[in-house]
């Protein structure tokens, strides 16, 4: 089998907190840039915006990563936010250049992230298909031959000569996805973390990914959803702080990932470098699980209510913001999703959230969880507009079930929830007696 991707000592250094670039490689460029930017820097200094060139901070988003991937394999990539997953994919798709190391990629790299890139609202569906296809690297003849297929797939046939600004968001997304899906790259990159759209759309993405994998093409799959990783990949790598710490069969890699980074004691805080720039104006600060007395705990009792607190900052007002929780089992199955503006009163009151420091606090009632370990994910988004921030594995907590319903038998119960149901036991004959009395 031939190697599709060969990554060797790959490293990517980013500077943080500095707008100035420090040039490292050659003198001529230094001279040119310094000459050109001198008046601009001077102007900046004059209007009081300080030149931050002095305090450069560099961070390795990726360091010494090496791996080979054979053609036709599906590789899962797992790691926390800021572990370097997206950076790796960006380098592979040539959006950004590595600082060190080399990559050899055999074939065209396509990504389902690029959905709709280069779409122009004023152009018709037909024109955008050609435009978008060209941006994704398709030849005109290639687009010609796939045109009908793309239109069929997108289900917008009758609007194909209408400007896409008149499309519904669903139609827009379908058309955009149809083009990306027909690119037929030799290597497909799927970053579910950044994928836009609703659950339906994400399902479509995953479905397409499965098809591609079955056709014997190479797939790289990034997800925070462990069950999706387990289902769709046989092999996975674990990234932590830019380094490849483990590669193995998916089951082993997932177990390793879950057992290593997850064991914080009921509290998760976000450092500046863990928050992607794209999340602005939203900045997560911390997520805490508290027991009734207000103490941060790692293990909660299923018979008592639990408070989950998400603290964050908004640097500018956001309309339609909803901040919410995903609770899932360690296997990646969702237990529930809830947003802070789910109730109509709060939905109206917080239609626009002004800039400031917030805590969204939810009380999870007693008698929900079964025994085991659960992960809490957070999400901050404006529905249909933008997802500002998401971390599906923000923290994990254990549930202790002493005193919970059914514990007298001492056997494990299946299912992630263990509700205290309002059972009534009635004897049939007594019912008949009652009726007779009436």
């Amino acid at each position: 089998m031939t190697t599709a991707i060969s990554v060797h000592n790959l490293g990517k250094q980013y500077k943080i907190g500095a707008a100035e670039t420090k040039f490292r490689y050659n003198m001529l460029r230094d001279v040119i840039v310094d000459t050109v930017s001198a008046p601009i820097r001077l102007a900046k200094a004059m209007i009081g915006r300080s030149d931050r060139r002095m305090n450069q901070n560099y961070v390795w988003a990726l360091k010494d990563v090496s791996f080979d991937l054979e053609e036709g394999k599906v590789l899962g990539i797992v790691g926390r936010n800021g572990a370097g997953k997206s950076t790796l994919l960006k380098i592979l798709s040539r959006v950004t250049e590595p600082t060190t190391g080399t990559v050899t990629v055999r074939g065209r790299v396509g990504s389902l992230l690029e959905v709709g890139t280069g779409f122009h609202p004023e152009l018709t569906g037909r024109e955008n298909i050609y435009m978008n296809g060209a941006i994704l690297g398709m030849k005109r003849t290639e687009i010609d031959s796939k045109f009908d297929e793309i239109v069929d797939f997108s289900e917008v046939t009758q609007f194909i000569d209408t400007p896409v600004k008149r499309y519904s968001s669903g139609m827009y997304l379908r058309l955009a996805f149809a083009v990306a899906a027909h690119l037929e790259p030799e290597i497909l990159v799927v970053d579910e973390v950044l994928a836009v759209g609703d659950a339906e759309f994400q399902k479509k993405c995953l479905g397409k990914m499965g098809d591609v994998a079955q056709q014997g093409r190479t797939v790289l799959f990034v997800s925070h959803n462990m069950s999706a990783i387990l289902r769709l990949t046989q092999e996975a790598i674990v990234l932590n702080k830019g380094q490849l710490i483990m590669r193995g069969p998916t089951q082993e890699a997932v177990d390793y990932y879950l057992s290593s980074g997850q064991s914080q004691a009921g509290e998760r805080t976000w450092e500046a470098d863990e928050v992607p720039a794209a999340s602005q104006p939203f900045t997560p600060i911390s997520l805490k699980v508290k027991e009734r007395g207000g103490k941060v705990v790692d293990t909660v009792r299923s018979t008592e209510p639990v408070t989950v607190e998400f603290e964050y900052k908004l640097s500018s007002p956001v309309t339609g913001l909803r901040v919410g929780l995903y609770v899932s089992t360690m296997r990646g199955e969702y237990v529930f999703t809830s947003f802070d503006t789910d109730t109509p009163e709060l939905y109206e009151k917080f239609d626009t959230r002004s800039a400031g420091h917030y805590i969204s606090r939810a009380e999870l009632p007693a008698d929900i969880f079964n025994e085991g370990r659960y992960t809490v994910g957070v999400n901050a988004s404006s529905f249909g507009v933008k997802r500002y921030f998401m971390d599906e594995n923000a923290l994990a907590f254990n549930v202790d079930i002493s005193g919970a319903p059914g514990t007298q038998w001492g056997e494990p119960r299946v299912g992630p929830v263990r509700p205290r149901l309002n059972w009534k036991i009635e004897k049939r004959s007594e019912i008949r007696d009652c009726r007779l009395n009436l």
Binding site: S37, I40, T102, T104, V109, S111, L123, A134, I135, G137
Partner: protein, 284 residues
Amino acid sequence: MTQISKTNPHEPHTVYIKPSKGLAALNLSDLLRYRELIFFMVWRDVKVKYKQTLLGMAWAVVQPVMTMLVFTFLFDRVAKLPTEGVPYPVFSFTALLPWGLFVTALNQGSRSLVAHQNMVTKIYFPRLILPTASVFAGMVDFAIAFVILVILMFYYQVTPAWNLIWTLPLFLLLAIITALGVALWLSAINVQYRDVNQALPFLTQFWLFATPVAYSASVISDRWQLLYSLNPMAGVVNGFRWALLGTGNGPDAALWVSVGISILIFVSGLFYFKSMEKTFADTI
């Protein structure tokens, strides 16, 4: 940055990704592979430019004609500037053609990278395509306005010399090279410093005064001519007038200075752009 091995089209090509060192290779072969994208970008810019406007493509005519009328009133009727025997409307319109092309290219080109942020941060393609396409998109307006110039010349019975067949395209090329060169510099700087957006209107205005669009280059005294020709657009405008109207000296030392400066801006812009290209996705 990256090299693409030559293989037959049915074989997937292999891409080597590694940090680029020194002055980045220009990688023109990659630009060639994406030539269809240049075409599509130009086509899109042209198509979208006058969408949902009442006058549509007529704007390509209205803009220079209105400027010409204002100039005629101010500089011909009021200030009575010398025009070397050519009717002032033709005299200024001849200069407004390349100037319009230059200004559009400069403004669109300099903003092209930032305007296509989502493309730059999401997919690979040779970034040079963006400013290049913006510059070429201005050519369509130029062609339409050129028809008006021909009509004006007929009306005022100005007969051009026959050698304009080959001289005019050369001066047009000079205008394009100049515009592209400046757009390469400014678009790359704009990625990091949005100051460019702020400076553009001022720069455009200043440059207009420094270029003999509204007035004749002959009003500049001889001792300043050489300094004046450091502005490559002065060479372009003088060249257009010489080719179309027969005014001025034709190719002289001043023109060669303009050509030299223009090529210098273009080549240095190309190298600067290529050397900054790898940081675009990270800093934009």
